[in-house]
C-alpha cells in the first residue's frame, strides 16, 4: 500500500471551525479513481491464492475429501484440511473473553452449519484454487438439520446482546394489563438477514519469520490483533494489520472470522503470502448475521390512551455451538412511558452460523415490532399515531427512571411531522388514493439508539514547521472517519485540516477501540480531542514559561489555539505561532496522548440515547399488492453533528435499510437442509435505486453536556430504527391490512377485491 494522499478538495467554507463543516470525503478522490487500496487489492510478491471449500450440509461430518484430485489439478500447491494444517497455540473453541466467538478453522470434521469451511485449497491462481476446491467432492455423514423456531426446546439464555439481562421489568405488567381499558396482543416475525457488505471478507497474510503482516478489513483492529496473537502464540506487537478502507462492515467485520484466520494459517502452511477472499455465497454462514425473531407484544391503555403496561417477549435463535442472542425486546426499555414494562427473551438452537451484531442489533428487530404495536394500540384507541406517542412521551427513561442526558425527540416529532405534512393524515386506513388509483398510506415510527462510549487512545504532535499530527488506529467503514475524525483533530490542535497529518487505519497506531455501537466518532473523537488539548497545553507551557515569548506569564488557561497560533485570551494582539514557539525552544516536535472513555458517573446519573422520528408514505396497488415507498422524512437528534454531509449520508443509509427491513430483506432457509437458498445479491433482495424515493433528513439541534466532551451521540445505526416500522405502518394505513411477518409480501396484501 502506498502512502495515502487524502484531499480536502473541493475547497470548503470555514467559519473558524472544522467541526460542523460539510466537508466532502477526504478519501473520495482515491475511491472514485480506484486508488484506495482495499484488503484484496494487495498483492505481495510470491502471493498464492486460497479458496475455501464449504459444507453443503448443515449438520453432520465430513467423512472423505478427494485431496489427491485437488492436488493433481495444475497450479494447486497444497490443500489444508483438519489433518493437514499448522498448529494453533490455543483451541479456537476456548472463549478467552466475552468478545471471542467460536469459529471454524478446520479443528475437526464436524459440521454445524451450511457453508462452514471444510478445507482450503492454495494455488498459484484463483482459478486453480477454485477448481481444486470443487474437486474435493466431500462425502458426508448427514444428520437432520435443526431449522426454524420449532427446531427444539426453547430456553432462557443467561444474557442477551452484550451482557443485558434476559428478563427485565418495572411495575406489574399483568396488573397493568388487567386494569387496561383497551389491550392489544400481537405477534411479529422478522427473518434472518445477512450483512452483505459490498466488500467481502478478505485477507492477505504474509509471515516474515515470527512477524505477521495482515491486510484485512476490520472494525476493531486491536481486538483482531489480540485474537490473532492468542491463536498463533505471537506477541501482539509482532502483528501488523492494515485496514485503511472497508467496503462496509455493519458489524460483520467487528470480530475476525474463521475464514480470515484460515488465510493466516494457509500462509503459514505454504510459507508464502496468501490471499483469501470469500465468495458472496460464502458470506452466508461464517461471518455472522441478524437472527430471526418472533416477538409477542401486549399493550394496555387507560381511557385516555395512556399506556398502563407494555409486555415485550422475544424469541430468537442462536447456533448450536455458541451464544449470541438478539436483544430484540430491550427496544421497549426507553421510548414509551408505561408504568409497567416487562421484557424477556428465549431462544432455540439451530444449525446456523452464530448470529452476531448486525447494524442496530436488537434495536432494529425490536423497533419494527414495537413501532407496529404502538401503531396498533393507537388505532385501537382511535388516536393519531403521533398524538398517541406524545401522550406516552417518556420524560425520564421508563425502565430506570433516570433523566435523559438530553432528548430533543419532541422537536424531532414536530419538525418531521411539519416537513411531511402529517397533520393532514386521515385517522382511518384505506382512505387515500392517488390520481392513478393507487392506495396511499402514511406511517410513522420513533427512532432511538443508545449513545455509547468505548475506550480509545490517540497521539497528537505539533511539528517544528507548525503543522500537526494526529495518530489513531481508527476505522473508516465508509461512514467517513477519515474526514470527520480529521475535522475533530484539526480543531483540537487549532489548525486548518490541511495543516494536519491525520494518520489512521493501521494497528500500530494508538488503539481506537471498536467502530461499532454507533460510538466510533464519539469515542475516537474524544481521544483525539483530549490528545489535541494535551499537546496544546504542553505547547502553552513552553510559551508561557519562556520570557522571550509574547505569551510569557499568560498561564495555561490564558491562551487559546487558533489557526496555528497560541493567542492570549485577554489580549488577542499578543500571540505566537506554533513554529516560533518550537523553534525558540529548540524542539523538533512536541507530543501528547489522550484517551476517550465512558464517564461512569454520568452514565449512572443519566440515560443517554439519540432519538428520531420517521414519517413514510407508501403506495400500494389495491389489487396487485405491490408496494412502493414514495416519500420518507426522518428527523433525528443525535447531539453534535461533526460533519452534516457524512451524517446525512449515514442517516439515509439507515433509512434505506429500514425500508429494506420492512419490504425486502430475507434469507430463505430450506426447511429440510438448513441451506440458504438465496445466498446471492440477485435473489436476496435489498432496495435498488428505483425503490428509494428522494429522502429527507432533518438533523435537529441538540446539545448534550453529559455524553462526552464533544457532545456526540452517533448516527450509524439509529436510521434503521423507526424507519422500518414507519414503512410497515404506512402499508397498514394504505391498505387496512396489518402484516406482522416481515418483510411484507405481496400475497399478504391480496385482499379480496
Amino acid at each position: 500500500m502506498s502512502e495515502l494522499i487524502l484531499t480536502s478538495a473541493p475547497a470548503h467554507l470555514r467559519h473558524g471551525s472544522n467541526i460542523g463543516q460539510p466537508l466532502t470525503r477526504r478519501d473520495g478522490i482515491l475511491k472514485v479513481t480506484g486508488q484506495a487500496t482495499y484488503a484484496a487489492d494487495n498483492h505481495p510478491p510470491g502471493m498464492l491464492f486460497a479458496v475455501i471449500a464449504t459444507a453443503s450440509i448443515a449438520r453432520g461430518r465430513v467423512v472423505s475429501l478427494d485431496v489427491a484430485a485437488a492436488k493433481r489439478h495444475p497450479g494447486v500447491v497444497d490443500v489444508m484440511t483438519p489433518e493437514h494444517k499448522p498448529p494453533l497455540a490455543i483451541d479456537p473453541e476456548i472463549k478467552t473473553n466475552p468478545f471471542v466467538f467460536r469459529m471454524e478453522v478446520l479443528q475437526s470434521n464436524d459440521i454445524r452449519y451450511a457453508n462452514q469451511a471444510i478445507a482450503v485449497v492454495i494455488a498459484e491462481t484463483l482459478e486453480a484454487a477454485t477448481e481444486g476446491a470443487a474437486l474435493l467432492a466431500p462425502a458426508y455423514e448427514v444428520q437432520p438439520a435443526l431449522v426454524g423456531f420449532d427446531a427444539g426446546e426453547s430456553f432462557a439464555p443467561p444474557v442477551v446482546g452484550v451482557g443485558n439481562p434476559t428478563e427485565s421489568h418495572r411495575g406489574d405488567v399483568e396488573a397493568g394489563l388487567a386494569a387496561a381499558d383497551k389491550q392489544i396482543d400481537a405477534t411479529y416475525e422478522t427473518p434472518p438477514q445477512y450483512h452483505n457488505a459490498m466488500e467481502p471478507h478478505a485477507i492477505v497474510a504474509r509471515w516474515e519469520g515470527d512477524k505477521l503482516f495482515l491486510d484485512t478489513p476490520s472494525q476493531a483492529m486491536v481486538m483482531a490483533r489480540g485474537r490473532v496473537a492468542e491463536l498463533f502464540g505471537l506477541a501482539p506487537e509482532k502483528i501488523h494489520i492494515r485496514s485503511p478502507f472497508l467496503g462496509g462492515g455493519f458489524g460483520s467485520k467487528g470480530f475476525l472470522t474463521g475464514p480470515q484466520i484460515l488465510g493466516v494459517m494457509a500462509a503459514k502452511l505454504v510459507g508464502k503470502p496468501v490471499k483469501l477472499v470469500l465468495r458472496r455465497e460464502q458470506m452466508y454462514g461464517p461471518v455472522g448475521h441478524r437472527a430471526p425473531t418472533r416477538q409477542r407484544l401486549r399493550l394496555g391503555t387507560d381511557g385516555e390512551g395512556r399506556l398502563t403496561a407494555l409486555d415485550h417477549r422475544a424469541r430468537t435463535v442462536s447456533s448450536t455451538f455458541d451464544d449470541f442472542y438478539e436483544p430484540a425486546a430491550d427496544a421497549s426499555h426507553t421510548l414509551y412511558a408505561a408504568p409497567a414494562i416487562r421484557t424477556s427473551h428465549d431462544a432455540v438452537r439451530v444449525n446456523t452460523g452464530t448470529p452476531l451484531f448486525m447494524r442496530a442489533p436488537g434495536e432494529a428487530t425490536g423497533s419494527i415490532a414495537l413501532e407496529s404495536a404502538i401503531d396498533e394500540m393507537a388505532s385501537a384507541c382511535g388516536m393519531d399515531p403521533l398524538a398517541f406517542r406524545l401522550k406516552n412521551y417518556a420524560e425520564v427513561e421508563p425502565m430506570t427512571g433516570r433523566p435523559f442526558s438530553s432528548k430533543a425527540l419532541r422537536a424531532c416529532y414536530e419538525q418531521g411531522a411539519a416537513r411531511f405534512g402529517w397533520a393532514k393524515r386521515p385517522l382511518q386506513p384505506r382512505q387515500m388514493r392517488d390520481d392513478a388509483g393507487l392506495l396511499v398510506g402514511w406511517g410513522m415510527g420513533t427512532a432511538t439508539f443508545p449513545a455509547l462510549m468505548f475506550q480509545a487512545e490517540a497521539r497528537a504532535a505539533i511539528r517544528r514547521d507548525g503543522s500537526g499530527v494526529m495518530e489513531i488506529g481508527a476505522h473508516d467503514m465508509g461512514q467517513g472517519a477519515w474526514t470527520a475524525l480529521a475535522q475533530i483533530a484539526a480543531d483540537s490542535v487549532g489548525l486548518d485540516i490541511d495543516r494536519l497529518d491525520f494518520k489512521s487505519g493501521t494497528s500500530d497506531l494508538p488503539d481506537a477501540g471498536i467502530a461499532g455501537g454507533s460510538a466510533h466518532t464519539a469515542t475516537a473523537g474524544a481521544a483525539i480531542h483530549s490528545a489535541g488539548a494535551a499537546v496544546i497545553a504542553k505547547l502553552a507551557d513552553l510559551a508561557t514559561s519562556d520570557e522571550r515569548s509574547p505569551l510569557f506569564g499568560a498561564g495555561n488557561a490564558g491562551v487559546i489555539a487558533r489557526e496555528g497560533r497560541l493567542i492570549r485570551r485577554d489580549d488577542e494582539s499578543r500571540s505566537e505561532s506554533y513554529a516560533e514557539i518550537l523553534a525558540r525552544a529548540g524542539v523538533a516536535e512536541i507530543e501528547a496522548r489522550g484517551t476517550g472513555a465512558p464517564n461512569p458517573a454520568a452514565m449512572e446519573q443519566y440515560a443517554m440515547h439519540a432519538h428520531g422520528a420517521v414519517f413514510a408514505e407508501v403506495k400500494v396497488d389495491p389489487e396487485l399488492g405491490q408496494v412502493r415507498l414514495t416519500r420518507m422524512v426522518g428527523a433525528f437528534a443525535a447531539g453534535r453533528i461533526v460533519n452534516p454531509r457524512m451524517v446525512q449520508s449515514q442517516l439515509f443509509g439507515g433509512m434505506i435499510w429500514g425500508l429494506s427491513f420492512a419490504l425486502h430483506e430475507e434469507a430463505i432457509t430450506d426447511r429440510r437442509s438448513g441451506r440458504i437458498m438465496n445466498a446471492n445479491l440477485g435473489e436476496y433482495h435489498i432496495p435498488v435505486n428505483a425503490d428509494v424515493p428522494p429522502l429527507d433528513v432533518i438533523t435537529v439541534e441538540e446539545h448534550d453536556p453529559h455524553v462526552n466532551a464533544l457532545g456526540i451521540k452517533g448516527v450509524g445505526e439509529i436510521g434503521i430504527t423507526g424507519s422500518a416500522g414507519a414503512v410497515a405502518n404506512a402499508v397498514w394505513h394504505a391498505t387496512g391490512v396489518r402484516v406482522r411477518r416481515f418483510p411484507i409480501r405481496i400475497e399478504e396484501l391480496l385482499v379480496p377485491s
Partner: protein, 351 residues
C-alpha cells in the same frame, strides 16, 4: 470451474457443426450461462462463441411486413429502437422491465429465449433437481416454493421460465428461425419451450447444434400496437424476476375486441399463451366483466405446486389489469417504470 474448450466459428454452418458435439453449448452474452458455469450448475465441455458471427445483429422489416430480429441483437438496442417500440410496444416494455440496464446492454435476443429457470434448487448443486440431474428428484416440490409454477408443472419439476421478453412474443405469434444440421427451419415460439412432464431436462425442442438465428414477428403483430401492454408484478421496483406477469394485446374495432392476445409469465415452465381466454374476448366490448371472465378462463387448470396458491389469484388480477391497460390504449411513451404497477406514478424516474 471445469475446463472447457472454447471455439469461435466463422460462419453459422461452422457454429452448428461445432455445437452439435456432445457437451457443447453456445455462448452469446453469457449473462446467465457464465453464472451457471461458475456455480457448477452447467458444466459444458465446449463453448461455441457465436458473438462474432456476421448477420445476426440486424433488425429488418421484410417485404411481407414481418419484422426479423437477429439473435444477437442486444435487449437494450431492440427496446430502444424507435420503430420497433412503436410497432410492438408491449415487447419493448417487457424488455425494459427485465434485469438491469447493465444486463440489458449485454443480453441478446436468442439468449433471452434460452435462459434457464431461476428455481433456487436448480442453482443449488447440493439439491436434487430433475432438470439439472435427470432422475435425481425435485427438492423444490416440498421446499421453499412460493415463486414456483401454477400451470403446466409436473411432479418432476415445478420450475418457471423467467423471461419477460418471451411473454409478449408468444402472444404476438412470434416465430423462431433455427439453423440446424439439416438446414434452416422455423417454429412458433410457443412451441419452442417444453413443459416438464417427466423430462424437465429437455427444456426446448431444439436438437444438438440448433442455433436460433432470428425471431420473427408476423405482419399481423403490428395490428395490436394501439392496445398492447406488458404488466409485471415483482418484489421490488426493478431488478427482480416476475412473481407473475402478463402481456395483453387487443385489436379493437368499432368498440369491440376484434382480436385479443394474452400470455402469462412466471407461472409455468414456458411463456404461457392463454388462447382460451383470447376466445372469450373475441367480439365482445372491452369491459371489466369480459376481462374477469377471460382471467378465470386463463387460469383454468391452475393449481398450486407448493406455498404459491396466491399466484393463481394474483395472475387473474394481473390478466384483468393488463387487459384493462391495453384497452385504455398504449401510452405515447414507454412509462418511466416499464411494466410496473407504478408505471403511471407521476414524477417517476427512468430505471
Amino acid at each position: 470451474m471445469k475446463q472447457f474448450d472454447y471455439v469461435r466459428p466463422a460462419t453459422v454452418t461452422e457454429a452448428v457443426a461445432a455445437a452439435a458435439q456432445p457437451g457443447a453449448v453456445f455462448l452469446a452474452a453469457g449473462t446467465n450461462l457464465l453464472d451457471l458455469m461458475k456455480g457448477g450448475v452447467s458444466r459444458p465441455d465446449r463453448l461455441v462463441d457465436v458473438t462474432h458471427l456476421d448477420g445476426l445483429d440486424g433488425i429488418e422489416t421484410l417485404a411481407d411486413g414481418s419484422l426479423r430480429i437477429g439473435a444477437l441483437v442486444r435487449n437494450a438496442d431492440l427496446a430502444h429502437d424507435a420503430e420497433f417500440a412503436r410497432s410492438y410496444p408491449a415487447v419493448a416494455e417487457a424488455l425494459l422491465s427485465g434485469a438491469s440496464a447493465q444486463l440489458r446492454n449485454a443480453a441478446t435476443v436468442g439468449g433471452n429465449l434460452l435462459q434457464r429457470t431461476r428455481c433456487a434448487y436448480f442453482y443449488d448443486t447440493a439439491s436434487r433437481c430433475n432438470k439439472r440431474a435427470p432422475g435425481s428428484g425435485c427438492d423444490a416440490r416440498d421446499g421453499e416454493n412460493r415463486s414456483h409454477a401454477v400451470l403446466g408443472w409436473s411432479e418432476s419439476c415445478i420450475a418457471t421460465h423467467p423471461s419477460d421478453f418471451c411473454v409478449p412474443l408468444v402472444a404476438l405469434d412470434a416465430i423462431v428461425e433455427i439453423e440446424g444440421r439439416g438446414g434452416r427451419r422455423e417454429i412458433a415460439l410457443v412451441e419452442l419451450h417444453r413443459l416438464p412432464g417427466d423430462a424437465p431436462d429437455r427444456e426446448s425442442v431444439l436438437e444438438p447444434g440448433d442455433l436460433i438465428v432470428a425471431v420473427r414477428l408476423p405482419p399481423a403483430a403490428r395490428g395490436f400496437a394501439a392496445h398492447a401492454r406488458y404488466l409485471k408484478v415483482r418484489e421490488r421496483t426493478s431488478y427482480a424476476f416476475a412473481v407473475v406477469s402478463a402481456a395483453a394485446a387487443l385489436r379493437i374495432e368499432n368498440g369491440r375486441i376484434a382480436e385479443a392476445r394474452l400470455a402469462l409469465g412466471g407461472v409455468a415452465a414456458k411463456p404461457w399463451r392463454a388462447r382460451a381466454a383470447e376466445d372469450v374476448l373475441k367480439g365482445v366490448a372491452p369491459i371489466a366483466d369480459a376481462f374477469q371472465k377471460a382471467a378465470r378462463r386463463a387460469l383454468e387448470g391452475a393449481k398450486p405446486s407448493g406455498d404459491n396458491a396466491f399466484k393463481i389469484e394474483l395472475a387473474r388480477r394481473i390478466v384483468v389489469r393488463a387487459l384493462t391497460l391495453a384497452a385504455a390504449g398504449t401510452p405515447a411513451r414507454i412509462p418511466a417504470l416499464p411494466a410496473s404497477p407504478f408505471a403511471s406514478t407521476s414524477g417517476a424516474l427512468h430505471v
